[in-house]
Every structure is written in C-alpha cells, then in structure tokens.
Amino acid sequence: SKISVVHCFYFRGGAELLFDGVKKHQVTLPCQPEPWDIRNLLKWIKQNLLKERPELFLQGESVRPGILVLINEADWELMGELDYKLQDQDNVLFISTLHGG
C-alpha cells in the first residue's frame, strides 16, 4: 500500500538564503507511484520550496557542487547519494560550503 512520508529538511551554511532564510522545513511528501528517492526529492524541492535562483542549489539532477547532503546526520555518500530511498521520518540536511555569489 502507498504511504506518505514526513521529512524534515534543514538548510545550513547559507543554503537557507535560497529558501527565504527558513532553516527547517517539515514536510509530508505526497503519495506517488514513483519511489521517493533523493533524485525525486530534489525535483520536489525545486518545485515547492526553492524561492529563487535554482541554479545556486541544483545542477542537473543533483545538488550543485559544494553543497553537502546529510541523511539522518550521515554523509549521503554512505547511503547511495541520489539513489537513496527515503523512509518515514528521515531527516535530510543540506550544508553549503560555497563562499556565496
């Protein structure tokens, strides 16, 4: 059966400036036939949360180089990066290491 999942997204290191300065977003992702992996999550964030200048956060289907992604406080490189399948109550944190502009 289909489940909707609740996720928290945090933005840090300046990444929050792209999201109206809001650091924490708690969201419920809608049911959909495709799995909720990070790839689809980024698309969803672009459509629903990103207020301006998507190219400062995203590049292609991934995040812009220089932006770190942590899933449940661990490096997404350990979790499969874009292929990681989101589960209920997962936390996703984006930290920008870029020097702005």
Binding site: G13, G14, D75, E77, L78, M79, E81, D88, G100, G101
Partner: protein, 491 residues
C-alpha cells in the same frame, strides 16, 4: 561481488571512476520501513559502513576518496591534524601572542575551536601560545542594512565573548584610516629569521623549564588575559557613521570588474588585520583558509598573474609583512571536513551575504575558478587535493633584503616586472593620460607588480582609492623622482 566504493587510493585524478551514480558496496534493495527502529541512535545510516580506522564504529562520513570514518575517529583525526600542522612548521613559539582572524565562516570558526581544544589539554601536550581574536565587519560592501549589520555584529560578539579570549571588532570602513606604513614590512623581530634568538626547540625547552619553576600557573589559559574591550557591560557595537560608509562604498563601486573588487576587499581586510596585530603586539596572525579555499586561490592567483607569488599567497607561512607573520593552519582541511566537524560538534558560525556585484556584471575570476574546481571535483574526487599538493611543492624565494623600490606598493611582494619597455606597450596596461597637472594613475604603475597593475587599472580613479594607498604611492613616486634627478644623466 559488490563494487568497492573506494576510489583509486590516492592515484591520479584521471584514474578515479566517476562518482556520481556509484552505489555503496552493500547496497541491496532497501528493506521494509520496519527496519527503522525509533530507538536507534541518531546518525545510524540505513546501510551502515564500518569506520575504516577503528573497525567498529558506524561510519558517519567519507573523507578523501572513499575513507569512511565514525564520529569519534573523525574528531581525533581533525584535532590531530591541527596540532600536527603547527608542530610540523614550528613557527609558533611558546607564550607568543597569536591573533586569530575570524570571519564568522565555518573554517575560521573551526580554527578557533581547535585553538580552544589545544589550549585546554593537560600540560605536556598543551598548545602554548596566547590567542586573541579579530573580526572585520564588512556589511557595508555586502549590501547589509544598518539593522542587519548590527545584528551580525551582535551575533559575532556573542561568539567571540564565549571564547574568553581578548577580541577586537573592527569595521572595513576603518581601512580609510590606515597609516601608509602598513604598505611597508615592519622590522623583523629577533629570532623569527632564525639568525639570532633561540631556535624553536630551545624556546620550547626554556618555556617548559620556566613553567615548572612557576608551578605551571597556566598563564595561557583563556579568561586570564584581560579583554581588550572596555570594562562594564558590553556596549552594542557602534557602526561607523554614514559618511565613512559612503566613502568606502565609493572605492568599491568605482571598481570596474568583480575581480578587482574582490582583490580590493581582500587587500583592505588583510591590511586591517595586520595593522591590528602590529598595534596590539601580536607577532603572528592565523587565517582560516581551508584546503578547498587554498586550491581555489592557487588557480585564481595564477590566472591573475601572481604565479611568482603563489607560495607566499597560499603557503603555510606568509612573511611579507616582516614583523607580523601570517600563517594558515587550516589549509590541510577540506571544506567538507570542516562542515561536518562543525555540524557534529556544534561549532557556531555566522552567515553573511557575499560581496556585492553590479547588475549584469560578469562573474569574478575567483567565482569562475571555484565553480570550475568544484565541478571537476564531482567527477574526479582527487582534483582539489592534487592542486593543493602541487602547491605544497612551491616554496617562497629566500628572503633577501629589498628596498621599498623593489616591493609592490599594494601586495608587498618583490616586483616581478623586468623588461619595462615591453610591458609599457602592453595594451592592457595603457592608461588614459588625464589633463596635464592632474595626478596621473599611470605614475603608479612602476610601483606595482604585474598582477597588481592589472587590478589597479580596473580600480577607479585616484580619488576613489583609500587615502593610505595614495599617500604611500605619492611618497614613493616623489622619492623616485628625486633619486632620478640626483643621478648624473647617462644618455
């Protein structure tokens, strides 16, 4: 056989496989949601990999190319690297006053934390210098409103006060009041050049002996040193008056390119920090440039024509100011390591907007190089470290006694401009001559190194330059004229 997710183990960048769609070794079809137990410790990944160092802890991040570390081992690795960096270079003497330049950004904040950690250890291994902090408030050129500037200042002051170290808050506007002497190296102190005074080992030994005699009262503990702020409740830091801010903005707005503007900012900031160190008796300044930032700077400065000075611009030690030595103890840490460390261990930082740019202006060389390197790094994860390690092979030219006529007015490096005649013909360096009798920008050109000439040309007219630059420039021009007049003519 699952694919080992590690990279080439330190091989050249071109042998690393593209990383983008590679999955970790033990990735299988993810199990049902019931695998997630609410009581599990935070930070437990779905597909845990084991720390490669201790072999026990659950990996929390990947360092370098494919080295998983748990939180505990990562912390040790991070802290050890700082001490190793200082120990290897042996330029910070015991009991010395060291000024930490703090920007509020992640790298300098992590640097302050490492200093705190290092000072707090038990006596034998403790770091032995006396730190102070300096923060340059740059809100004027980062398009912050006065309210936002005050807010940033308040946040930074809280951060600085929490360390217990003496601190200094200065505004970029104060660069307008710098003395022309900042453009000259100060006299080197005995011992720093190694010719006179104790060697590093002698200094450490005598310090330890002294401490034993004093009963190790811990004179370098934070909180014992008097803060350099007035007594009483900390007043809300005042902003400079609007006229000063306006004058500063004039300098920056007159810059024709984003590149020149970035160079101007870095120059003013550095001069302010070094002057603060000089005024307050600090012989050393620590800057928080990370490995990532150093690699970007290396390629940027190469593109700016500063190839001759890469070692000084990016190396661990920068001695161009003579009595004040700049060191870069964070240059071995990647931006990723710093970000993770700060997150895991609660190192606070303050985000400020970037330097302003004009509408429809091309990006600066700095931004382009950063974008280029970070982009390349995605596919070839050894890129940045390779650039960095190549830079490590550069060493500065041995210091030679050079007169001021052989040093660049702006960057204080030795002039690299031979063949004046060819350079004078270069189209990029030709400046329009103003009306007769008016001070000409062209007269400054011989005072500058190649790269500073290019930057200088892109800055505004002379009256938009900071007063100290003009004053020192005029003085050198006049002096050169006098010397020329005194020489018997040879033609």
């Amino acid at each position: 056989m699952c694919d080992a997710a590690g990279g080439g183990g330190g091989c050249g960048a071109d042998t690393d496989p593209p990383r983008r769609h590679r999955a970790p070794a033990d990735r299988c079809e993810s199990g049902p949601a019931s695998e997630w137990t609410p009581g599990a410790a935070p930070g437990t990944p779905r597909h845990p990999r084991t720390c490669m160092k201790c072999g026990q802890g659950t990996a929390a991040l990947v360092i370098r190319v494919g080295d998983p570390f748990c939180r505990g081992c990562f912390r040790e690795y991070f802290v050890h690297k700082f001490r190793a960096m200082l120990g290897k270079n042996r330029v910070i003497f015991p009991g010395e006053k060291v000024l930490l330049a703090v920007s509020g950004g992640p790298a300098s904040s992590a640097m302050v934390r490492q200093v705190q950690e290092g000072l707090s250890r038990e006596a034998a291994k403790r770091l032995r210098f006396v730190p102070g902090l300096v923060y340059v408030e740059e809100g004027a050129v980062r398009r912050q409103s006065p309210e936002q500037r005050e807010q940033t200042l308040a946040q930074m002051e809280t951060l600085l006060q929490a360390t217990g170290f003496p601190y200094h808050l200065i505004h970029l506007e104060e660069a307008l009041e710098l003395p022309p002497s900042i453009l000259q190296p100060g006299p080197e102190r005995a011992g720093t050049s190694g010719t006179s005074g104790p060697s590093y080992k002698e200094a450490v030994d005598s310090f330890i002996q002294q401490q034993r005699q004093d009963g190790d009262s811990g004179t370098s503990l934070p909180g014992h040193s008097a803060p350099d702020t007035p007594a009483g409740p900390p007043a809300t830091p005042r902003l400079p008056d609007a006229a000063q801010t306006q004058e500063l903005l004039r300098c920056f707005e007159a810059a024709a390119t984003a590149t020149a503007r970035e160079e101007l900012l870095e120059m003013l900031r550095t001069h302010l920090i070094v002057q603060t160190a000089r005024d307050r008796g600090y012989a050393k300044v620590m800057m928080g440039e990370s490995l990532t930032r150093v690699a970007v700077k290396l390629l940027t400065n190469l593109s700016l024509g500063r190839g001759a000075f890469l070692a000084v611009d990016t190396g661990f030690t920068d001695r161009r100011h003579g009595d004040v030595m700049v060191v870069r103890p964070m240059r071995d840490y990647t931006a990723k390591e710093i970000a993770f460390y700060n997150f895991f261990f609660g190192v606070p930082s303050v985000v400020v907007p970037p330097l302003f740019t004009k509408r429809r202006e091309k990006p600066s060389i700095h931004q382009l190089v950063e974008r280029f390197l970070l982009g390349l790094q995605e596919e070839f994860p050894s890129t940045i470290s390779t650039v960095y390690r190549t830079g490590e092979k550069l060493s500065p030219e041995p210091a030679k006694a050079s007169s001021e006529s052989q040093r660049c007015l702006l960057c204080l490096c030795g002039l690299d401009t031979y063949g004046e005649e060819e350079l004078a013909l270069e189209p990029t360096l030709i400046l329009e001559e103003p009306a007769a009798g008016v001070e000409s920008k062209a007269a400054y050109i011989p005072l500058l190194c190649y790269s500073c000439r290019l930057t200088f040309k892109e800055l505004g007219p002379l009256d938009t330059l900071p007063p100290y630059v003009r004053a020192e420039g005029q003085r050198r021009i006049r002096r050169a004229e006098m010397e020329q007049n005194q020489e018997p003519s040879e033609s």
